[in-house]
Symmetry: C2
Subunit: 304 residues, 2 copies
């Protein structure tokens, strides 16, 4: 299987990206990812001021997917994680929901034993997830740091982007240009202190290509839900966008009126906080799959 090394990393998604590997639709690829600190923090007594903040959130890639053109959708099925034997969590003054309430940064190294994180005497089962996953951006959106989420994906910090799920990303440039990084061994919705259990990993995915259909924002398919992942300057703005995208999606694909779709959304769709600590905040709208199926949005016949 093709493997993309941790040394092949980008720090922004932009319209023009230089591929480091290529894949055909249907192919499986392993991305070796560094943690959000790019491996710079390995001791609890390390000064956060010694960290080079210009190389945070590395995303391994980009991968050129053959045949992908603007207007298509890249489906990335997340197959498997292999985690490093420890992660790290940090609190940093000025960051997170409570960043203005303390002055001393703190780092904890989190050993992982038998797929459990040992912390404060607790033994917390890991639930690995991808923090950063995205593709080349539109000319209009331009260059976006890997620390920021937007329509191309990026730092969505959404814990449902885990093994067994598939994410559908809008292709804006030839080859799509997929990059992946910032794995968390564990994180709660909100990522309130600005870090989860940050960890290096090997992430294996399968890429598929859907021709001529394109959503504005990423969509995630889990066992039970379809989730539209939107971001905005505030949670409230992200919630508005998530609502609007959901109503439009249900109206279009279920053949119901906008008014009916707005009511249906209020009844059955959950707005969920992904993270509220990055430069843009992220909300995902979770639509139960018994209301709409993924094939109604991305029909099987459109796959290559």
């Amino acid at each position: 299987m093709k493997t993309i090394d941790v040394s092949k990393a980008v720090y922004s998604f932009k319209p023009a990206m230089q591929a480091v590997e290529t894949a055909k639709p249907g192919e499986e690829i392993t991305f070796i990812t560094a943690d959000c600190w790019n491996g710079q923090i390995c001791r609890e007594d390390q000064l956060i001021t010694d960290v080079d903040f210009s190389i945070l959130n590395p995303a391994t890639g980009p991968l050129y997917v053959e045949g992908a053109e603007p207007g298509d959708t890249l489906k990335v099925s997340i197959l498997d994680f292999v985690l490093a034997d420890h992660g790290v969590i940090n609190i940093i003054p000025g960051h997170g929901t409570l960043g203005n309430r303390f002055t001393e940064p703190t780092t904890r190294i989190l050993p992982i034993v038998d797929s459990k994180i040992e912390f404060l005497g607790l033994s917390l089962p890991v639930k690995p997830m991808i923090g950063v996953i995205g593709v080349a951006t539109t000319l209009e959106d331009g260059e976006i740091s890997t620390g920021t989420p937007w329509k191309h994906g990026g730092n969505m910090d959404t814990k449902d982007i885990c093994a067994g799920a598939a994410i559908f990303l809008p292709v804006s440039q030839t080859g799509a240009m997929l990059a992946i990084g910032d794995v968390h061994a564990l994180m709660g919705d909100g990522e309130v202190c600005v870090t989860g259990c940050e960890i290096g990993a090997r992430v294996t995915v399968k890429v598929d290509l859907i021709k001529g259909i394109h959503m504005t924002w990423p969509m995630l398919e889990t066992n039970t839900h379809l989730m539209i992942i939107t971001s905005g300057e505030t949670l409230d703005k992200a919630a508005e966008t998530a609502s609007a995208e959901t109503v439009d999606c249900l109206s279009q694909h279920l053949g119901i009126s906008w008014h009916e779709a707005y009511m249906l959304t209020s009844l059955v769709v959950d707005l969920k906080v992904s993270q509220c600590v990055d430069p843009m905040k992220t909300i995902r709208a979770a639509i139960p799959k018994n209301v709409i199926s993924i094939n109604q949005i991305f029909p099987t016949r459109r796959y290559v």
Copy 2:
């Protein structure tokens, strides 16, 4: 069993409230509740302008709980719902996350057959929940409409306030003064269009009293989680308050530092949107019960 009739309703929570019934700790009581429209909407072609907006969100009660004093906590275990045979859902220009995107109000009557809501050809299983539940407020907070959530409870519109759960409300006045209303047969997190399946109901609860312990905001216990329910002018502000209350709670009751509790919160606590459409927005912080138990916060010995 004591029953409080739908005619005994309040439209605000305030420091001085006149009880309509009394109960002892340990007693079960049935509250008969009107829907959020106070039953004023019974046809789909009814004009929303004909509705008397001064009598919305009636809360049945208040119930005087014997022995309850400021500084105590009222535990309300939610035992059972009996729903009316239909509900109603409405969209209203200016309301909900997308209130500025349409001009025509719309009403749908939602028949309920075999515990399922018939809507748009879908058959949606009911999941009854309480929208409004609260107690008399502090002098500082003063009078608060039943349409608004705050520290006393109120219009929290939190779908986990359902059968099998228990809510812990801070007592601010003698007798606590519990009132309940605004049942929804079904609602998604966010309540994006400003209404769920609004419905009249019979709600049976059990009240218990915990002496001399008092949280600032309501706490909910479900099968799996403890949830601190906070509100603010924006989702972001509510998320900050939910984070702060959670970190303080974990630090105090687990005997860990504030810094450690902030990291633990980021790892295991989910910030969840309850609603983003009322005068104050509501976020609940869901703490897994394998991290902290309800007895660590409200010890059994404190119950009367």
